[in-house]
Amino acid sequence: MRPKRNPDIVWRLEKGMQELAWDKARKGEEYEDLGVLTLMTGGTIHQLNLVGAEIWTRINGINSLEKIAAEIAVLFGADPADIEADVGEFLTGIAEKGWVTLSPDSGPSGPKWSAR
């Protein structure tokens, strides 16, 4: 699955909040409640915490779920296998809200067309 952001969504990283959240995470303090990224869609405002923001900023229509999960795992020192299901759940959830579209992976075999 390759997530792509809805271009109508306006978003920003909150200046200082990402640094603060990382600082807290490194110290073992609570960082999950900090709104690090703000996005506006359909007249409503939402915020993502540090992990959500790190995922969101990697969504570009090219990076696959697996690639994003692997990077998040490295970033947070977690097991990629554990992370992938969570990232997938998050992406499915925001796809249902219309924040991203999920296109199927073309797989390692490359292009979908075939020579006759």
């Binding site: 306006v10 999950e32 709104g35 690090v36 007249g43 939402h46 959500g52 020192g77």
Partner: protein, 354 residues
Amino acid sequence: MGDSFPGFRSLRAEMERPLTLSHLASPITVNWGITARCNFVCSHCFSRLDRSPELSGEEARRVVDVLAAHGVMFLNYGTGEPLLREDLFSLTEYAVDKGLKVTMNSNGSLIDQAAARRIRDAGFHAVGISIDAADPAAHDAFRRMPGSFDKALRAARLLRENGVRLTVSSVICKVNHGAFAALVSLAKELGARTIDLHNFKCSGMGGLNKERLDLSPEEWKTFYERAIPLKLAETGIEVAFDDPILSLLGGEEGAEKLVAGSVCGKLSLYIRPDGAITPCGFIPVTIGHVLRDDFGAVWRDSDVLAHLRNKTAAGKCAGCAKFSSCLGGCTARAFAVYGSYDAPDPHCWAEPGF
């Protein structure tokens, strides 16, 4: 699992957060009066009495730099007639290049085919055209400008023909509160994506004409009771309005509130033509200057904004069960009428002890 952060627990259900105002490093929206000049003399205008000088073109670009550097998402030109500003299009192109979504409110009188094309080419995200009544005579009388209704409709049509996202912007008052459904129909016919039904503010000329134009609290209640079903209905156009006192109607039907109480100073700020920063256009209290002060520090540290974000129930609000959701209603209206941020909203229809 490798060396995980001590604070790392789970990704699930924690990534999306409810909006926390203290986590906003700057306003989402800045409303900017790029000029106070106007070719109209509308009965309700909040800025007609503003004689402040406007920023130069070079200063205006520096304002854009400041806003972009602080991550402001939306920039809306209002106050006077933006099209009277000679550098409107180049300034807008500059702001769009910096990543801002730029909108403006216009009376439409200066939008001909050439202007509509330039608006499109400059990259405006949307343009609001003021239309206050579906009846031409009523609109012209309110705007105190014969022929203004026809010009507004012409502007709306030209914008749509040129692919510009159109909003119809209407100020609800004595002139139109009983006939707003016709306004919605007109906006839809014009191809507007949204119609904004703004509540009347008794600031500036609006304060001087309050007795003649403002609705009574009961009339506001009746208006919202009729408008909410229209907002919720599938009419093919977004009917948008927001007012802190909507929470009095129970539930949040149609209200879709972003924050409790007024959004001013919580999600948005206003910049006057001379660069002075105020919480909103209707609260004429300067809290800094966009080019002379640290914009982020003003947003974070202003005592006035701190007060607006932490209002105290006063008057009939004290003990009112709805205070936690309406936070005293519109602060601008309270300030305009009573001179206090904490005073009850003069539009509030709730009796003491509600």
